[in-house]
């Protein structure tokens, strides 16, 4: 391995301080640190450091996304063949490859555009390339419909990275979840490509006889749901690429909770919030959406995906422990509220999370203020004692 290291050191020479390509150092460093943990040492205490760094944290999230991604790829092919080929299914590999053929270009475009902008900003501003986009780059295609034109995806990514992140100062400074911002942007900029019954099944727009709408979409129109709870749980339903299979998402949730990378507090309280709200509507039961069973609410649409992978984004979520619980509860609550009361757009979790992104600092403010108040009270008491 010394050979490789020497080679990299040689390549890095012209990028060093005072050398010809000094300005481009962040780009070459990003590639180098992807291969090696750099030889940086501590300057003062603590002299030793934990093995964890932001790269490891972000890669863990990417790993957690893999089950949902693989299933999403398969399901993209499955929905295509089952709807367009009148129920006759080709072999597994053909289904998967059809999905891959659709999804892979989206992932490539997302990473190419997003990382391109990140690298450009790093070089322009002279800071290191941050790892945040490793996750966002995969999340964005996974929350999009499979037939979204690539150029729309590219523009959504550019919007999310430039306006959602870099405008605030980069990774760690953004107030909204960049991946959700990309989806929200696409939703409002290209509504016909982001909702309806033709977009969730690949190449569905080429034929007429197709019922590819999402479950929430048909419920909003007062139609019957054509899928069993097991279909919903396993994910053999139309929907955004990565968000249909609750099972695959649960595997991801397990990875996030077991490694401690994702906040279980947000996930658990989010589920509780949504379950309670849906139960409440079940009890009222005026419309099809209100009557939709609360357990089903948890497994359809983007709820599971949103609560596991989006709501837990540590930068845009509440940051205090108590705050996280309140934050999760409210996301669950608003997700179901929007589903039930907004038939034009029954998928509520995205808007619920974005809404709570704006409220997260306020929640933290009140939690932290509790601690401040305690200190003030103690001071007042001690002054009283002294004067007595």
């Amino acid at each position: 391995m010394k050979f490789l290291r020497d080679k990299i050191d040689k390549i890095k020479k012209p990028f060093e301080k005072g050398q010809k390509f000094e300005k481009f150092a962040p780009a070459i460093n990003a590639l180098d640190t992807f291969l090696y943990v750099p030889n940086h040492t501590t300057k003062h205490g603590a002299h030793i450091r934990d093995a964890v760094d932001l790269k490891r944290t972000m890669i863990t999230v990417v790993l957690a996304l893999v089950p949902a991604l693989l299933f999403g790829i398969y399901n993209s092919g499955y929905q295509h063949f089952i709807q367009l080929n009148e129920g006759v299914l080709p072999p597994f590999m053909d289904i998967f490859l059809h999905g891959l053929w659709k999804v892979l270009p989206m992932i490539i475009v997302s990473y190419a555009v997003g990382l391109g902008i990140e690298f450009a900003f790093a070089i322009f501003r002279g800071h290191e390339v941050n790892e945040g986009y490793l996750v966002s780059g995969l999340l964005i295609p996974m929350v999009m419909p499979v037939d979204l034109p690539l150029w729309m995806l590219a523009i959504s990514v550019a919007f999310a990275v430039v306006i959602g992140k870099e405008a605030f100062g980069g990774t760690g400074m953004n107030i909204f979840n960049p991946a959700l911002l990309a989806r929200a942007f696409a939703f409002f900029a290209y509504p016909t490509f982001m909702s309806g019954d033709k977009i969730w099944v690949s190449e569905a727009s080429t034929t007429d006889a197709i019922s590819g709408e999402t479950i929430l979409g048909s419920l909003a129109q007062g139609k019957e749901v054509a899928y069993s709870t097991m279909d919903m749980f396993l994910g053999f339903i139309p929907g955004s690429i990565g968000e249909t299979s609750t099972l695959a998402i649960l595997i991801g949730a397990f990875v996030l909770i077991a490694t401690g990378v994702g906040s279980w507090k947000i996930m658990v309280s989010g589920v509780i919030g949504a379950a309670l709200t849906a139960m409440m509507f079940n009890a009222v039961g005026l419309t099809a959406l209100m009557n939709f069973d609360w357990t089903n609410h948890l497994v359809v649409g983007g709820f599971a995906f949103g609560i596991v992978f989006m709501a837990t984004d540590p930068v845009s979520a509440a940051q205090t422990d108590k705050g996280k619980i309140i934050y999760g509860l409210l996301i669950g609550f608003f997700s179901i509220m929007i589903r039930v009361f907004n038939p034009a757009y029954p998928e509520g979790v995205m808007l619920a999370i974005l809404l709570m992104n704006t409220l997260a600092p306020t929640i933290d403010y009140f939690v932290v203020n509790g601690n401040i108040a305690k200190r003030k009270k103690r001071l007042a008491k001690s002054k009283q004692l002294k004067s007595a």
């Binding site: 940086h40 760094d53 863990t60």
Partner: protein, 449 residues
């Protein structure tokens, strides 16, 4: 009667190279150094000049801001050099040691017979005062102050820290005398903490409030003790003294001498036979470690791995130091080391490594940063290792923004850099939390005082 304190948050780092319970006398060195940088915030005003002869315990400089606070020579000999750096800042005062020490003789005194002022004068004149630290700000106590309480922690919970029970087992008389003297200085109590489990040699110390502390590091930090017993409010002062320094203070009263000899644990994975040495403070590090360490790509730390200061081979033992740790330098590349569950030889408190499955395993960490500095992204991890009732991330952010009001309301008075050492260690963003807190405290001294 002891009162139990239990904490859950924190982290016990298990490292290779623990000191065996064995003490040897270090050989006498030729040159000893006193470094004003050991005394944070002190601007030295020299009393001696190059070529002067001094006795052990003779004043060599005093603090410009508090002229009563004096600093003395650890050995008798000749002032060889006063080394200065940029803007003539005094870096160190080198003393060529005589073959045997001639001490400045103070009179023997029983602290119980003395008034507060007499005890104070005695400590100030003898050079023992710098052992007394104050909180807030973690600096040497002001001679004019009266603290609301004094805290001593005999539970050294830091990784590989010297075992205080072992070091002071035969100095209990001096320790008691030191406690008696300190008790004269406060309007409140002297609080003494013991390691939770097992017997402690300090359990019979008189005139103190005893507390047994259970839990992972930083359970032994004096900051935990303060926050659980008598937290500091704005405008209040508490003092803290390290146990070995209490014994040195006691020895002054019993013998009339300032004895700068301390028992230091030489520890770390790069030490051949980790054990204790009786050594005079200011001794050259090279003399202490010569022939005792493996390899040459090592870092010598005066203190523990979390809070100590890096010393070069030609450097000297610090004034307060009772541990010297030697670990490998980490100036090496590690392939794909960022991958989850990779490099099992590197410990991680997070569960992205394998270490949480092997809680008993001992590690030999190096000084690699294990990543690059990043913005604060991950939340909740600081709180895991912060047992004080403090919002660490919010406080650090207030410090970074120099927002004094916010710092005050979030509890800056209650903390010292050492309370943030584990945050330094576990933080994903590779933040320098201790450094941030130190700079913030310095700002507070300047702005609030």
């Amino acid at each position: 009667m002891s009162k139990d304190i239990r904490i859950k948050k924190g982290l016990d780092l298990k490292l290779k190279g623990e000191a065996a319970h064995k003490v040897a006398d270090a050989t006498r060195s030729k040159v000893y150094a006193v470094k004003p940088s050991d005394f944070h915030g002190v601007t030295p005003k020299m009393v001696v000049k190059e070529g002067d002869n001094v006795k052990a315990g003779e004043v060599i400089f005093y603090s410009k801001a508090d002229e009563k606070v004096k600093f003395v020579a650890p050995v008798s000999g000749k002032i060889q050099e006063i080394k200065r750096g940029e803007k003539r800042v005094i870096l160190e005062i080198l003393i060529t040691a005589d073959s045997q020490d001639v001490f400045v003789e103070h009179s023997k005194k029983n602290p119980n017979d003395l008034s507060t002022e007499e005890v104070k004068e005695h400590l100030l004149a003898s050079g023992c005062w710098p052992f007394i630290n104050q909180r807030p700000y973690d600096v040497i106590a002001k001679s004019a102050d009266t603290p609301k309480a004094i805290f001593i922690s005999t539970y050294a919970s830091a990784p590989l820290a010297a075992d205080v029970d072992f070091v002071l087992a035969d100095k209990l008389v001096a320790f008691q005398a030191g406690v008696d003297a300190l008790a004269k200085l406060t309007s409140g109590k002297v609080h003494l903490s013991l390691k939770g489990k097992g017997k402690s040699v300090f359990s019979d110390v008189k005139g103190v409030a005893l507390h047994r502390v259970y839990g992972p590091h930083p359970a032994g930090n004096v900051g935990v003790l303060i926050s659980k017993i008598d937290p500091i409010n704005a405008g209040e002062r508490v003092w803290t003294v390290a146990p070995q320094d209490v014994a040195t203070i006691g020895e002054l009263f019993l013998t009339g001498k300032f004895n700068a000899t301390r028992t230091v644990a030489l520890v770390g994975s790069e030490v051949k036979e980790a054990q204790y040495y009786n050594v005079i403070s200011g001794a050259p590090i090279s003399d202490l470690v010569a022939g005792k360490i493996e390899g040459d790509n090592v870092r010598v730390i005066s203190g523990d791995v979390l809070t100590g200061t890096k010393v070069k081979m030609d450097g000297n033992l610090g004034f307060y130091s009772n541990t010297v740790t030697v670990i490998p330098e980490g100036n090496v590349y590690r392939m794909f080391g960022w991958m989850p569950f990779a490099s099992p030889s590197v410990h991680s408190a997070s569960r992205t490594g394998l270490s949480w499955l092997m809680p008993g395993k001992k590690y030999a960490p190096n000084t690699n940063l294990n990543g690059e500095e990043r913005a604060l992204v991950v939340t909740g991890e600081m709180e895991e290792v912060m047992p004080l009732d403090i919002f660490p991330m919010q406080l650090l952010k207030a410090c970074l923004a120099s927002d004094i009001d916010k710092m005050e309301s979030l509890g800056i008075y209650e903390v010292a850099p050492e309370d943030f050492a584990l945050i330094d260690y576990t933080n994903t963003s590779k933040l320098e939390a201790q450094q941030i807190i130190r700079e913030a405290l310095d700002l507070m001294i300047k702005e609030v005082g």
